[in-house]
Symmetry: none
Subunit: 248 residues, 4 copies
């Protein structure tokens, strides 16, 4: 706590004094471009890992970066989403999971939490779609592999849940909103983004800036810049979005 | 009521006596292949319009063929879905809306319902994602055109909501479940199915049975066997599933 | 699925083409006379077993033909009831259970469902009134006998629950609404209706059409055309409906 | 979005590469000392304003830094609180509001939000305790003054709400947990903390580090380093915190 108070003064005398114009401008209003949804985990600093200035990221943080389906809960998640899209006109939403996520570890041993942490238990049941998918589709995995795939699939679950919010549902139809699924790796500082065409988590790209060619070139394993093993990626590929098209 | 009682006897002496073997077999257990979700509207008879025998369709019927997102309500919808997929192993789910739908008419004048029919009002708020999308994307439409597009979009909303149910979320990943969006037209007896590739409602096909070539040939308007006008279809096309892929 | 698509065409070329006038008329509006509440079970086809044409039955279907008491849930059941009675002016409501009901089997082994089918588990808890009544009043029964009485009592439970809906409560007082309790037997195609005077499930009659005299004559057991044994019928009499009046 | 992707790379090549040891250590587990609850507002960067490294702050962010009383909602707030205190053993919780808060502006014109942003409307009703206190105690204020006092009082409301969580309630009794109320001023980069002895928001201090003597000396207004006017500060004193002890 003492360190934080010293930090407040350091911020004022250092960063703030150098960027007074920015803060003066920000005091007139915020115009963030991105809604960044991530975990409460202390090891994630959204602005740091994206090198974003104050004013750029509208942020929701809870345990496990979980966004329950529309109407399923009445906590702060829905209001922040609605405010971001409706009032601020934000057009990019990123759900960012992370390696070594304690919430996802909890999801994999859910029964043990009911007694000791009932609120965590109830909240993680909002990620039942993740738990069930992992249980039924990755029964061969254990330990770190199981945790990694749970983290990866959970972000995709939240993307699906986001689609059920009226304000998002409507903007998606108009092509005025983009949803991105990211996973941040604490140990190497890398972020991987879900590529819905390749059905893999890969180094993120952007329409206006081509991927680094080196990252596009297949490596010896054949999955360039991919995070999961080819086998894991294949599972996601076949499972996750292959059958997204409606059979008519 | 008298007519129904007479009908019961007619069923016994006519249909039942001719199909005793079927009913004998059905008394041992049900093995339906399809979960058919449709409106309570009296003008829809799921078995009649699909020429399905008893035992083929597991049926959910409510006002407006609405399936709230997972966790949003605690009515019978979720249980029937879970039972169909988990206990019965059903692999095909059809959400079937219909023309002249009273529930969708109500959705378009929602405010007027709060006083007179509070339960209908509350229930239709579960279709807020449809209402908002229509309001924001089809502001130029009125009357029958507006109703038609609302009916069509509402079925697609429910398809998205279905994806949030854990049991569906998981099976979709495994490619063991297919979701279909249908609209039944009372006035001409036709059913149109959403084609996620063409982004239109068209005459339904099946993998094993090719579409009637005549239906595949473009007509003078250029939209063969399509239900909505080219303009409307184009709106759905651009709006609905164009941007379904995740931007990474 | 392919069969269904073929069925759609068969419906159009056969039934629809022969009844175009009916469907043309129906496209102008629905005027059903009966709200028919039954199970999602695939073996039940309400229109088939009552020989009803399209337009005659407004239908609610969920797992176990359960209608929770007013206010207990926020699913689609209440809205469909309100719409049927208030907007459509329906004056007859039938709750129709059926033999071999999977939901009622589940109710008799509820604890085993919590893990595997949590939504079914939660939904069946809405039929706790049935479960408790059966547990406390039919402790001597097992197997098929227990299931039969559970199915029969459950329909009566739902009749009581229906009475709690404001729109029904009010119309009942005015004598403008009639509630009927039916059980459909898959194996013999028969429907039995609860007779509140005789306190038994018997072949249904109607005020305008006298019962078949043969059915009115006591048989050797003394319970003509009755479904349950005299002992079971007696239990229902004492247990649940002494003070209630049902139109059958 | 392109800027963020470039930012990810900048973070890796710059900050991460310089602090690899820190991240390597963090990948083994998190041991944050503080639960930092603040608004989703893009202009707040908790780590920046406290000069905190990754791993130091466990963060909850939602619209308006609102923590509903225990049991009032089932969103992510409760779970993150429970996890922070129970699983991570955190002993300091800070609720940090901020100037120019859009959520608090919304709270002051709540009725206008119901139609356009229903989820925001519902969420802000969780801050009704703030709204009512302000309405009944600061009826003479308008404009910026009213907004400032609302922001200040709202943080204190959330401190009271936090006390209702079982895990916090118990630790407070044991003296093992401290709650702090902060308000961050975007325009000047300063943070003010509620001082429960002086009943004012003042520059925060810490037990281990004496306050800057200059800040302790009364200024001409008589309220050194205080944010609100003496009148406002006095109102807070009488209105909300006479009998409470907060560590600042």
């Amino acid at each position: 706590m003492e360190k934080l108070v010293r930090g407040l003064r350091h911020f004022q005398t250092d960063y703030f004094s150098k960027h007074q114009d920015l803060f003066q401008q920000l005091s007139l209003g915020q115009h963030p471009r991105v809604l960044f949804i991530t975990c409460s985990d202390s090891r994630i600093d959204p602005n740091l890992i994206t090198d974003a200035d104050p004013g750029e990221l509208f942020v929701i943080r809870n345990a496990g970066n979980i966004i329950p389906p529309y109407g399923a809960t009445n906590g702060g998640e829905g209001a922040a989403i609605e405010y971001a899209v409706q009032a601020l006109g934000i057009k990019d939403i990123i759900v960012c999971g992370h390696s070594h996520c304690g919430a996802m570890k909890g999801l994999l041993k859910l029964d043990k939490l009911e007694e000791e942490m009932p609120l965590v238990y109830e909240w993680l049941k909002e990620a039942e779609a993740t738990r069930r998918l992992v249980k039924e589709n990755y029964s061969n995995l254990t330990g770190e592999d199981l945790l990694s795939i749970t983290i990866a699939e959970n972000v995709l679950t939240q993307i699906e849940n986001l689609r059920t919010y009226p304000v998002i549902h409507s903007k998606l139809r108009q092509g005025k909103l983009h949803l991105s699924a990211w996973v941040y790796h604490i140990e190497n500082g890398k972020v991987f983004a879900y590529d819905a065409v390749r059905h893999e988590y890969v180094a993120p790209s952007s329409p206006l800036e081509p991927l680094d060619p080196e990252e596009l070139l297949p490596n010896s394993i054949g999955h360039p810049a991919s995070w999961l093993s080819p086998e894991q990626a294949h599972r996601i590929y076949r499972g996750s979005y292959h059958h997204q098209t409606l059979k008519s």
